[in-house]
């Protein structure tokens, strides 16, 4: 079984359920009482994809508040996957996704696979952001889209599978290189071209 090691960063406005998604994905659990994420938190999980690939995901969960973006931006480096999460019951969380997206592509390589996630789909009665709106935004920006519910465990695994499948596809097509080395965290004030970080290292890629 071919093995890959991907770095995945979870980002988006505050209180949209980033940590809950992770908890559901990594521990198969839901808790309405999660602590606020301050700075960054780390999780790792190994998953199987289509029973042909074994994928180790290194997941970085970031704080959602605007103030932290200057810090969390540094953690994008070397990431293969960015999960951009918003809350379907909160219009505000959907409104400024453009700027988030800009930052993702600015701070990481161009080839980063971005998946837009509309979370809290279990609250369909309180929905204010239509599925079509999410789909349209994703299409316009050429990123993947899915709606999930961390509470009901709807589509949570599928979200991660979709994203990793896309990365594997890009690697197979030679459009992405995979760094099997542990991604470096960087000093806060350092401004370097993120593309430089994409050094290649032997792995199952071409």
């Amino acid at each position: 079984m071919e093995e890959f090691h991907f770095k995945c960063i979870v980002t988006g406005p505050p209180c949209v359920g980033k940590s809950s998604l992770l908890l559901q994905f990594c521990e198969k659990e839901f808790s309405a009482e999660l602590d606020t994420t301050v700075g960054v938190e780390f999780q790792s999980k190994t998953m199987e994809l289509d029973s042909t690939y074994k994928i180790k995901l290194e997941i970085w969960d970031t704080a959602g508040q605007e103030s932290f973006r200057s810090i969390t931006n540094n953690y994008y480096r070397g990431a293969h996957i960015a999960l951009l999460v918003y809350d379907i019951t909160n219009r505000q969380s959907f409104q400024y996704l453009g700027s988030w997206l800009e930052e993702i592509s600015q701070m990481s390589g161009e080839n980063i696979v971005t998946l837009l996630i509309g979370n809290k789909s279990d609250h369909n009665d309180r929905r204010v952001v239509k599925v079509e709106e999410g789909e349209r935004f994703a299409r316009e920006n050429n990123i993947l889209f899915i709606e999930t519910s961390a509470k009901d465990n709807t589509n949570v695994e599928k979200a991660f599978e979709d994203a990793t499948r896309q990365v594997v596809k890009l690697i197979k097509e030679g459009k992405m290189v995979v760094v099997n080395k542990k991604p470096q965290t960087v000093s806060l004030n350092q401004k370097e071209d993120p593309k430089q970080q994409q050094q290649q290292k032997k792995s199952g890629c071409c």
Binding site: S31, L34, N74
Partner: protein, 604 residues
């Protein structure tokens, strides 16, 4: 996860466990005196209706400040607490365990896990203490392959000592013995441990008093066999009453003193009748005294600790009476490094230690409170970062969620909002930054709103916290470099290993500094850190950080990237206060040294 037959009693303000009248030190009518000699606790008029009234009043008056420290549980015997904990689901036990160091061993007591079966084992294995896991696995009589299969289900298993391991299995909770809590013998033995034989009868009488006052909930629930019918779901308000009556009637002595105790609980009891009961109990208990002799030695240690704690409380009280900051500082220096400020004294000690250099007045607090109201209406168009006021509401329920008091309907929800909103308007240049709610929450657990605001404002008015809360990257980088070189000097092996993997201090330090460890460490350990922090200023944060890294140096020297990162961003919930402070004490970083280091690091 409610897969136990007993309906779980959540640690939430609306449930009787946390708001029972007995726990309320401030309610005169149902006051239980902590003094063991006092037997007036039973002078409660106990008709059902008057109980309801008292109970409701007590619920309103109940001070959560006491919940914050260990004071609440000091009123209860350990065995009684274990009984309370037995009603919790395994997941709740896991949560409750984090509340304080006294509760932790109790929550890990094997009696809390008596009903463990395969199904609940699989569902809850993450939450079970390692000792319980080991004990349970050893009862399974499993082969290697089966255990391998079990490992797939339960990630914790590889970390516990398996039965075929040559080394002995870990002891269950040390403080509360291995006797079963379902017999009154335990109640007596554990009671005796704190005070020796002489204190035993007094202890018993006091615990008996608490029991009889606890059972005032009326005659309808006179029978203690809660376990048998609780699966039908007991009305929450009744749970505590039933629970405690089970405590008084379940034991081996139950047949003998069940009726008097119920008598005292159903009809209005007088001190005289209580005394009669005590006389009766003395006779009944004699055969058990020999057990006490055996167990007495074991807990001289605990006894000593308790005595020391009382003494410290007294000295601190005297220092506070003198109301001199300098005096406390002198007293504190030597004492706090080893022992924390007694939780009852913090209310007075903290504001003194922090001081009020900003000269904040109650008027100022109310002015900014009013301004916050306006800022909320204006929303994003307000001055500076005042708009962040809207973010506070999102974070309130996510601040110490396990305490359940900052939740939307929680009793401290508005207080926390008020303090934070006032601060945002007071310092619109800083605004609300995630992490701040933890600081305000800790202050609110100890102080009132105004004092909490004074302390929060004065504490944050410090170059280190300001740097982090304003996200001043160049200056933060200086602190990170300072931390990095401290790590290199003091724990070089860990430094090298982390550096090799590219893990830099900002990964863990941002959380630790912003919340001053209140999120990363258990509450009691965190407040202990805070005690000392107010004396040593921010240098101590870096010292504590070194202490934590030293404590886990083994893991951090050998672990791979994932293990180290996971450990550093999710510290284990069962960090031991004494152990951590031993490690912290191995570093002695003077504020001047640290200032020099910062100076060096700021010039490239």
């Amino acid at each position: 996860m409610m897969n136990r037959s007993i309906s779980p009693v959540r640690l939430s303000p609306s449930t009787p466990v946390s708001s029972s009248p007995v726990l309320n030190g401030k309610s005169n009518s149902i006051q239980i005196n902590n003094n063991n000699n006092n037997i007036n606790g039973a002078t409660t008029t106990t008709t059902s209706s008057s109980y309801k009234r008292l109970y409701n009043r007590a619920r309103q008056q109940f001070s959560f400040q006491e919940l914050a420290g260990t004071d609440l549980t000091l009123l209860m015997e350990e065995s009684l607490l274990i009984r309370v904990f037995q009603f919790l689901s395994y997941h709740d036990l896991f949560v409750v365990k984090r509340v304080c160091s006294r509760w932790r061993p109790l929550c890990e007591n094997k009696d809390c896990y008596a009903g463990l079966d395969m199904q609940s084992f699989i569902h809850n294995c993450r939450y079970l203490p390692k000792a319980v896991l080991a004990a349970y696995i050893s009862t399974l009589d499993m082969e290697g392959e089966e255990i391998d299969a079990l490992k797939m289900v339960c990630r914790e298993i590889p970390r516990v000592i398996l039965p075929d391991d040559p080394s002995p299995p870990p002891q269950l909770s040390s403080s509360t013995t291995s006797t079963t809590a379902t017999s009154t013998t335990t109640t007596t033995t554990t009671t005796s441990k704190s005070n020796g034989i002489n204190g035993f009868l007094q202890d018993l009488s006091s615990s008996f008093n608490s029991i009889s006052s606890l059972t005032i909930s009326g005659g309808s629930k006179s029978n203690g066999h809660l376990r048998t019918h609780s699966s039908n779901g007991i009305h929450q308000d009744d749970t505590f009453g039933s629970l405690t009556s089970s405590n008084s009637s379940n034991g081996s002595l139950s047949s003998s003193y069940e009726s008097p105790s119920l008598m005292s609980s159903n009809s209005s009891s007088t001190p005289t009748s209580t005394r009669t009961i005590l006389e009766a109990m003395k006779i009944l208990i004699k055969p058990f005294i020999f057990i006490l002799i055996i167990t007495e030695n074991v807990d001289k240690e605990t006894q000593k600790k308790e005595k020391l704690r009382r003494e410290r409380e007294k000295r601190m009280e005297e220092a506070i009476k003198n109301m001199e900051r300098r005096y406390i500082t002198e007293l504190g220096e030597e004492e706090i490094i080893k022992e924390s400020i007694p939780s009852l004294s913090r209310e007075k000690a903290w504001p003194l230690l922090i001081g009020n250099d900003l000269n904040i007045t109650p008027e100022l607090f109310s002015i900014f409170g009013a301004r916050a109201e306006r800022a909320k209406q204006k929303g994003e168009s307000s001055l500076g970062r005042e708009g962040t006021v809207t973010l506070i509401q999102l974070d309130l329920p996510r601040t110490f969620p396990m305490l359940s008091i900052f939740q939307n309907e929680g009793p401290y929800h508005h207080k926390l909002a008020a303090v934070l909103e006032a601060y945002v308007c007071y310092r619109p240049d800083v605004g609300y930054v995630q992490g701040m709610s933890y600081l305000a929450a800790i202050f609110l657990l100890i102080l009132d709103e105004y004092q909490a605001f004074v302390c929060l404002s004065n504490l944050l008015n410090n170059p280190c916290y300001m740097t982090f809360y304003t996200m001043n990257l160049p200056q933060m980088e200086v602190y990170m470099r300072a931390m990095d070189s401290l790590l290199q000097i003091h724990i070089p092996k860990v430094h090298r290993h982390l550096k090799e993997m590219g893990i830099q201090p900002d990964i863990f330090m941002i959380d630790w500094v912003l919340t001053i460890f209140s999120k990363a460490l258990p509450l009691d350990v965190a407040t202990h850190v805070w005690d000392y922090l107010f004396l040593e200023k921010e240098t101590f944060i870096f010292q504590v950080a070194l202490g934590i890294l030293k404590m886990y140096s083994k893991e951090l020297e050998t672990g791979d990237f994932d293990q180290c990162m996971t450990l550093l961003t999710h510290l284990p919930p069962d960090i031991d206060d004494d152990e951590l402070f031993q490690h912290i004490a191995t570093f002695n970083i003077k504020p001047e040294q640290f200032a020099k280091l910062l100076n060096e690091k700021s010039s490239p």
